[in-house]
């Protein structure tokens, strides 16, 4: 694997050189992990003119972190209260870099100033989202990790469906799902698990409460596993009790149709806003424009919320091997609602079209 990371750093170095920067300082943890395979807390990565160095306080601790690549110099921070980014910038100065690109969207003003004061005359520029752009298209190793993460999430969700739900609180169901994720081999949840019942069902970003599951409720569950750093997402809505009400069936069918339209729109070369439009269109046409989330989906990878964004204002087009979520939902205040959420990988039609990673059924199950 360390050749993979070295190749990624080489690509970043080329990109910096093309922009006239002879060195880059990477501080965003997911970016460091992408370029090195590990991301000790508080670390900073220098892509320098002479060599690359990872400055950190303590060695990586998570047993599933990969060891430091051999071709990367590991520098332990001299003063434990120090800032690894400042120390890494100082290394750039020692290597006689003639400019240093930093992640202005990640560094605070205070840290940026501290870096400026240590590098002397070395001019600082903005690395921008250069590493995030490299991360956009995934290689097959990354997709394999996402596939395992999705399997784990499907397993955890499947087990929950076999248990008794009525009377249990959203908070407890969420915790149980997170325990099951770890049981099945996840490093942890990919994000805070969301469980919404009754009037809370279908709400975007719902934080679990002490409300208990009741007969007749919609139950919306949204969870994901983290596996080797990679994060997936699956969301489903169920109905509790013997038979769904007519309004529940209608709303479910509507969101299901919207989600299917979004999935079917995924293809290399398609504009991100067109996928959003395909997903959002049926919901808007049915009178639910108000209250819709501002996105219909987003990229996933080392972070749960990456580029591309599938939203009305999104720029850019999809590429092959970009994993995204498609996650429309409708929430009727006071009544509840439906969300359906999958993680898929964009693939050309010749390869069978979009690859669905989260395979839990999307039939409306009455539990």
């Amino acid at each position: 694997m360390s050749e993979v990371h070295a190749a990624r750093r080489a690509r970043l170095r080329d990109r910096c050189a093309a922009n006239g920067a002879s060195a880059a300082l990477v501080t965003r943890p997911a970016n460091i992990r992408y370029l090195t395979g590990c991301a000790p807390q508080g670390a900073a990565l220098l892509i320098g003119p002479d060599d690359d160095a990872l400055v950190h306080l303590t060695p990586p601790q998570d047993d599933r972190d990969e060891p430091l690549p051999g071709d990367l110099r590991a520098v332990v921070l001299a003063t434990p209260d120090g800032d690894a980014a400042v120390a890494a910038a100082d290394l750039a100065r020692e290597q006689h870099a003639d400019s240093l690109a930093v992640e202005e969207h990640h560094l605070t003003v205070t840290r940026h100033r501290a870096i400026g004061s240590v590098v002397g005359g070395l001019p600082l520029s903005d690395l921008g989202g250069a590493v995030e752009q490299l991360r956009l298209v995934k290689d097959e190793h990354e997709i394999a990790n996402l596939r395992i993460a999705a399997e784990i999430a499907d397993q955890a969700l499947g087990e929950l469906l076999e248990s008794i739900l009525v009377g249990r609180t959203e908070r407890h169901l969420a915790l149980e799902l997170e325990r099951r994720l770890v049981d099945h081999g996840a490093e942890g949840p990919a994000f805070r698990t969301s469980v919404g019942t009754g009037p809370n069902s279908g709400a975007p970003r719902h934080v679990p409460t002490d409300r208990r599951v009741e007969e007749g409720d919609f139950l919306t569950v949204r969870l994901g596993a983290r596996y080797r750093g990679y994060r997936c997402e699956v969301g489903r809505t169920f109905v509790i009790g013997t038979a769904p009400a007519a309004w529940q069936i209608d709303l479910y069918d509507l969101v299901f149709a919207a989600q299917r339209a979004g999935r079917e729109a995924l293809a290399p070369g398609v504009a991100c806003r067109d996928v959003d439009h395909a997903t959002r269109g049926p919901l808007t046409a049915a009178g639910h424009a108000e209250g819709l989330a501002q996105w219909s989906g987003h990229g996933v990878g080392l972070e749960i919320d990456e580029d591309p964004r599938l939203s009305p204002a999104a720029m850019g087009k999809l590429d092959a091997c970009v994993p995204v979520t498609v996650e429309p939902g409708v929430h009727l205040p006071g009544r509840g609602g439906v969300r359906i959420d999958d993680t898929l990988v964009v693939r050309p039609l010749a390869d069978g079209g979009p690859e669905l990673l989260t395979i839990t059924t999307k039939e409306l199950l009455a539990l």
Copy 2:
């Protein structure tokens, strides 16, 4: 409670005025929560010359968040992809503020530049850690929340000790503790629960692995509950099996003595570095200087790691009503070690001295 928050904002306003800033923009979530009682994701708080406004994307969602105070203007962000801090800065301009202090230690360079470009000629200054300083000394409401958080953590830990531990993994024990925290009324864990067995015991910041508890192990557990936003911390080390080995008893006694010395050193007016020295001294004298954590304890509150820091280089003195941890530990590579961690509130001797919040026994239990 909303008077409490209004009074806190008034104090901040006074402090800004003393520094020549007629408006302040607060973006750090814990600081927003301290000043308003809630902190919707991505929110920004303007302390303006005319009125105070909380700019946010969506209303607060956690059912335990307090409602927005009535004397605080709630402004919903017009464009969902917008930055609440930029919108709040624009309000400052509309209110004809003549300067705006921002949290340079929290804002990224990119966001700071976006704010600068929206406020026109309005000069930006640095608010620094002004809100963090207000947060240092807690009122009795805050301490009551911490006391409940500590009770919850003690309960969760006590229940774990009654269960069978041998053969279970660190990861599972950590998850079970987090579930028990929620069972007993926590909003969630105060930080990622740490469980270390055998060679992993006693290591600072240990991330739970798949190692299983074995007979003869040291077992170190570090956990905390979050209650109404307030976070406490408790850490204990146990021995698994019938009787501890001689080296285990010796090491435990040493860390216990260091921790007691640190607790007993807590008093208003005492220098933070002196508390560190009292805690660190016995460990250094016993030949364990190498590998000690760089701090012996730290403040807790709305964040788990607040000022003051109890470290050799720490400036400043303790005040009454400042909650801190005292958490020395020794880790012998390959063998394991001991950490003992309490949350206490600094109180004058006349009030009975330091108030111990985490009351789980510190005897060496053989489980």
